[in-house]
């Protein structure tokens, strides 16, 4: 039997603590001269976007490592990170829309980074959809690994195309929708702590999500334990009973 998977307590505690710290800093840092308090949205929006790309980078590395080392533990890391990445991408898009509506009165500003994030959201949603369609763990790991690589390698290409495209349609504006200039060191600290806090949250989610995967595998194995009949045994000699 595989080693007992200990339930780990520290992730939730660490996440709560670091988020609390980030929240207080975000609240006490000075308002922006132009944006006013709206700038505080940035302290969650930017970290969320940063974590989305970190998560997809981990999926990229995990996918390559699986194809090389052929160990399912890499596949688990890639899959967990993709799932968390899709969550953070969704959060980034939601926050981007809140920012857009509050700052520009429009939910979707077609700003380069937001558009790019939306595209990545669908690429990795496809990754999760692909994983759901295959049940053989080895086949699923193989296919997901290739898509994990294709998805990541495409990011620079998608990035350039969107940024160039955005460059053509850049409406003249005082503040580029991508974000205001950082005016005060306190703001920088708040932003930095926000990113650190979100990274702690990412690591905690990864640890717990992989713990869940181990448990699911052990549940799967338990069902298939020694007494699990070979598929063939389900077929028995036909017994036609009182046939004519």
């Amino acid at each position: 039997m595989t080693a007992q998977t200990r339930t780990r307590r520290w992730p939730w505690a660490a996440s709560a603590l670091s988020l609390l710290g980030a929240f207080t800093l975000a609240m006490v840092s000075p308002a922006d001269s132009v944006q006013g308090d709206l700038v505080r949205i940035m302290y969650v929006h930017v970290p969320a976007a940063w974590l989305a790309y970190l998560a997809f980078a981990v999926t990229f590395v995990g996918s390559i490592a699986y194809l090389v080392a052929r160990r399912l533990s890499w596949d688990r890391i890639a899959a967990a990170s993709a799932e968390i990445g899709v969550y953070f991408t969704g959060l980034t898009i939601a926050l981007g829309m809140i920012w857009g509506k509050s700052t520009w009165g429009v939910w979707w500003t077609w700003d380069a980074r937001l558009t790019l994030t939306a595209i990545m959201f669908f690429v990795y949603l496809g990754y999760l959809a692909l994983r759901r369609t295959t049940d053989d763990p080895i086949a699923r790991a193989n296919r997901a690994a290739v898509l994990g690589i294709v998805g990541a390698v495409q990011i620079p290409l998608v990035h350039f195309s969107v940024v160039w495209w955005r460059g053509l349609h850049q409406p003249p504006s005082i503040i580029r929708p991508d974000g205001p200039a950082i005016q005060d060191s306190m703001m920088l600290v708040a932003l930095f702590v926000g990113v650190v806090a979100f990274t702690v949250v990412y690591v905690s989610l990864m640890v717990k999500r992989i713990e869940l995967m181990h448990l699911d595998d052990r549940l799967d194995a338990a069902e298939r334990a020694g007494d699990q009949p070979v598929a063939g045994e389900a077929v028995t000699a036909p017994n036609l009973g009182g046939s004519a």
Partner: protein, 40 residues
């Protein structure tokens, strides 16, 4: 809506969704553990 209204919405969405995501994992962990017949 006032600036603080938007900020509250943004943080509400952030922490609310984080809590929901974390909870969904924690619940599934507990459920799988019980079916495996282990205590926490």
């Amino acid at each position: 809506m006032s600036h603080w209204g938007w900020v509250a919405l943004a943080y509400g969405v952030t922490y609310g969704s984080l809590a929901a995501f974390a909870a969904s994992i924690a619940i599934r962990i507990r459920k799988t553990r019980t079916t495996l017949g282990e205590n926490q």
